[in-house]
C-alpha cells in the first residue's frame, strides 16, 4: 500500500511538474536564436513565470518520493514502474497542453513504455 501510494505520487508529481514547465515555456514563446543574450533573456523571463516554479515544486516532490521509494524498494522495480510516466505524460500533453496525439504517436509512446520496462527488468 505504502509503495503504491508513493509510486502514484511520484508519477503524478513528476508528470505534473514536467507539464507545468512545458506550459510555462509555451507561455513565453519559441526561442528563435541560440545566442547567449537571447538565451539569458529567455531564462530571465522563465524565472518570472509562476508555472515554472509550480513545476519545480512538483519535480522536487517527485525527487523526494523517488528517494523515499528507493529506500525500501529495488531500483529494478522502481525504474520500470516509472515507465508509466510516458503514458501519463502523453495524457497530460493531450488534456492540459492541448497537444494532438495521432495513433502513430500513441503507438510510439506505448512501445517506448514497454521497452523501458523490459530494459530495466532484463
Amino acid at each position: 500500500m505504502r509503495t503504491a501510494i508513493t509510486l502514484i505520487i511520484l508519477v503524478l508529481s513528476g508528470t505534473g511538474g514536467d507539464i507545468a514547465v512545458a506550459h510555462a515555456m509555451k507561455r513565453i514563446g519559441e526561442v528563435h536564436s541560440f545566442s547567449p543574450m537571447v538565451i539569458l533573456r529567455f531564462m530571465g523571463r522563465a524565472m518570472r513565470e509562476g508555472w515554472l516554479w509550480i513545476g519545480i515544486a512538483q519535480l522536487t516532490l517527485a525527487f523526494c518520493s523517488l528517494l523515499a521509494l528507493l529506500s525500501w524498494e529495488d531500483v529494478s522495480f522502481v525504474v520500470p514502474a516509472m515507465a508509466l510516466s510516458y503514458v501519463t505524460g502523453a495524457l497530460g500533453g493531450k488534456y492540459f497542453l492541448g497537444e494532438k496525439l495521432t495513433p502513430l504517436r500513441w503507438a510510439g509512446i506505448g512501445l517506448v513504455s514497454v521497452g523501458v520496462a523490459l530494459v530495466c527488468l532484463g
Binding site: A22, K26, E30, G93, L101, G108, V114, V116, C120
Partner: protein, 138 residues
C-alpha cells in the same frame, strides 16, 4: 502544420543534447555516490557527514551542472516542441546505454533487454515520424 527542416534539425539537436546531459548527470551522480559509500545511519551526525561528503564531491558537482544544463535545454526545446514528442524521444537513452555497454565495454545483454532496446528504437522512430509541434503558437 508541417515543420521546416531547420525546425526539425533544431529539435533533433536539442533532444540529442538532452540525452547526453541526462546520461552524463546520472553517470556523475552514480560515480560520486559510489565513492562516498552508503549512508551510515539516520542520526543527525551521520546525515551531516553525508551532506558534507556529497557537496564536497567534484563528481556530484559535475552531475549538478549536467542536470542544470539538462533543465535549461529542456526548457528551450519545450518552448516550441510538444511535451508528448520530447518525452518519448529522450527515452532513447535507455536504448543507448545497453548498446554502448555491449559494443564498447563488451558487456553481456540479456534477450529481454535486447527486446526492450528494439521496442524503444521502434517507439522513438514512430514518435519521430509525427510533427514535433501540434499546438498553436503563443
Amino acid at each position: 502544420m508541417k515543420p521546416s527542416p531547420t525546425h526539425s534539425l533544431k529539435t533533433s539537436i536539442l533532444v540529442a543534447l538532452l540525452i547526453v546531459l541526462n546520461s552524463a548527470g546520472n553517470f556523475f551522480f552514480g560515480l560520486g555516490m559510489k565513492r562516498i559509500g552508503a549512508l551510515q545511519g539516520w542520526t543527525m551526525p551521520a546525515l551531516h557527514a553525508a551532506f558534507v561528503a556529497v557537496f564536497s564531491s567534484a563528481w556530484i558537482w559535475l552531475g549538478i551542472v549536467s542536470m542544470l544544463l539538462f533543465l535549461g535545454a529542456l526548457m528551450l526545446v519545450l518552448s516550441w516542441a510538444d511535451f508528448s514528442y520530447v518525452l518519448p524521444a529522450t527515452a532513447s537513452m535507455y536504448a543507448i546505454v545497453p548498446l554502448l555497454g555491449h559494443f564498447v565495454l563488451g558487456e553481456g545483454v540479456t534477450a529481454l533487454r535486447w527486446t526492450g532496446v528494439t521496442l524503444i528504437c521502434l517507439g522513438v522512430a514512430f514518435v519521430a515520424r509525427t510533427p514535433h509541434s501540434t499546438t498553436e503558437k503563443a
